[in-house]
Amino acid sequence: MAKKPRVVPPGVVGGQYRPLTDEQVERIHQAALSILERTGVQVEEPEALRLFEEAGARVDRAARRVRLPRALVEDAVDWAPSRVVLAGRDSQWDLELEGARVHIGTGGAALTVLDLETGEPRRAVLQDVVDLARLVDVLDNVHFYLVPVYPTDVEKEVVDVNTYYAGLANTTKHVQAGVYTIAGIRDTVAMCERIAGGAELLRERPLVSFITSWMVSPLAFATEVTTLLIETCRQGIPVILSAAPMAGSTAPVTLAGMLAQLTAEQLSGVVLAQLVRRGAPLLIGPIPATADMRTGRYLGGTAEFGITNAAMAQMAQFYRLPIYNSAGMTDAKTPDIQAGFEKAMSAVLAALAGSNFIHHAAGMLENMNVVAAEQFVIDNDILGMAMRAVEGIRVDDETLALDVIDAVGPAGHYLMADHTLKHMRSEFFYPSAVVDRNDWDTWSKYGSRTARERARDIARDILNTHYPASLDPAVDAWIREQFAIHNL
């Protein structure tokens, strides 16, 4: 039986990094409430307008503007659960999102894949959803499978059910994706109820959760997606209130202003979700970023990205709401040096801040546009290091090791101490073979290979050999009968 190093468990508690003081958190909170009272949000979706109106919001139908009183916002924050469980098919991968518990994983929905063999960009297809699920299933420091690509070979009408099926059938981790149609949500829920063994069981341990990017920053509800948000809340499946402003173009250029606007946007979504169904499980989903002031383009690899996503984790902890935010992105086009340092920077900051569900953190390149199999493998090590940083340093009698120090004495060594054998697999983080720790001569003797080449080998090996526990054959057959599942 091979001995394996211990992996830092998902859900280890962060919060050591706090870019905002308590006073600053309070000011941003007050600013957000002011924005909702004074400026409000633009809403056209009729059901949302009705709900806001009935709850006592100031609704100006002609101007399509909804202004939310403080008391309503505060009530809604209270109604929303502080703890949300996102389950995996294997309960070992159940994620308990609350407080400053940290989980990290993939993000979506890229249209392009860097082919593992040619290294050239190509269109993402459903087979990639399958293969990347199998890959992620093995990677210990990737805690969930947010479907990283949008399959361009599937029609919109059946894309939801196909995407979720491809994910669920090929990893035992929690599966999350964007949803695109009401029918798609209903089909996916029906499919998952069958997999979970019943409607109630699915609500207790939701194997899936739905991302609704209902907010077009600044402060405007996207009508069609708002209907999807409402449907998801009705279904009682965890909904993610995704909003992604860019400081400088769709939010104030100052980070505090962006955080205030984004907090207001998030709170408006929390209010709607709780008006649809009090207690509806949700994750707030702020993804603060910046615009490149030289081009207007979206940037995902900046220092500010890490700082502001960490700050939003603090806001979430202030509201006692679970948070989905983002880190581990890069603006680099290939798995290169830029990719490495940009990803590590924000991943560490967001994780140390105690973010509950950090997505976009594995596999992605050119911010959210591209994925590469070997990048998932590389990021798995970056995330392992970030999780190790979150875990911190245990200081107690056992770890201070005074008896061991005394027994070894001056000029001795610790290599054979029981204490060393006992702790050496858990005290340090051991990266995969992506990381080369040899001397120059050994490294060159084995071909002077780069981290990317080593990561490719690992990805190939996993994809050639790893097939996760499959769905129950009877359930699988039922799903294929009921829904327009693509044959691969």
Binding site: L111, E224, G248, R294
Partner: protein, 211 residues
């Protein structure tokens, strides 16, 4: 005289729209040739902006306020210019395609092209193929620009191009597409004439397409 032109150009560079409008009026009052005011004042200022922007010294917001100042100057100058009162660059119809409400990129392109002297017709967001067709029939633009942010709405760019084809209007315009998920390969695949990765490149592309 030369001094006045320099003043127009430098105020335009700084984005001072009121000053630019006043200075253009002053130049006209002094009997200067409107064409010279356009070339040596406004366009000379925009050229300088373009140069420093390409060098990375000016940022997008500075280009936009310069473009706004250019616009203010053109409003004064237009009635005095021959041939329809434009810069001669022609018209461009832009919109975010059907199903998509994200307009920051489209707005950026619009303002940049305006700054480059194009007459912009903005159809807003969620623009159906018919909306594009009606606008092309009405305005007879040289260019049509389409924007999309969502993976699910990109396909509507293709539908719009096909609709232009069916309406017999495809050959009368050049079609350019953009937006975060849009690539040059996608543009080629759907039969667009060009793709620009950002708003500044869109200006270069637009110029090349009408050349």
């Amino acid at each position: 005289m030369a001094n006045l032109m320099e003043k127009i150009a430098s105020n335009l560079y700084d984005g001072e729209e009121d000053e630019v409008a006043e200075l253009v009026q002053k130049a006209l009052d002094q009997g200067m040739d409107p064409q010279d005011v356009l070339q040596d004042g406004l366009l000379a200022g925009m050229d300088e902006v373009g140069k420093d922007f390409k060098a990375g010294d000016l940022y997008v917001p500075e280009v936009l306020i310069a473009a706004r100042a250019m616009h203010a100057g053109m409003n004064v100058l237009r009635p005095f210019l021959a041939e329809g009162g434009g810069t001669g660059m022609g018209k461009c119809v832009v919109a975010t395609v059907e199903g998509d409400l994200h307009d920051i990129g489209k707005n950026l392109v619009k303002m940049m092209l305006e700054g480059a002297g194009f007459e912009m017709i903005d159809l807003g967001v969620d623009a159906k193929a018919e909306t594009f067709i009606d606008a092309v029939r009405e305005h007879r633009p040289k260019l049509v620009g389409m924007s999309a942010l969502l993976t699910t709405t990109m396909v509507n760019m293709k539908a719009t191009i096909e609709a232009l084809q069916e309406a017999g209007l495809r050959d009368s315009v050049k079609v350019m597409v953009g937006g975060a998920p849009v690539t040059a390969a996608f543009a080629a695949e759907i039969g667009a004439d060009g793709h620009a990765p950002d708003a500044a490149s869109a200006v270069d592309l637009a110029r090349a397409l009408i050349a």
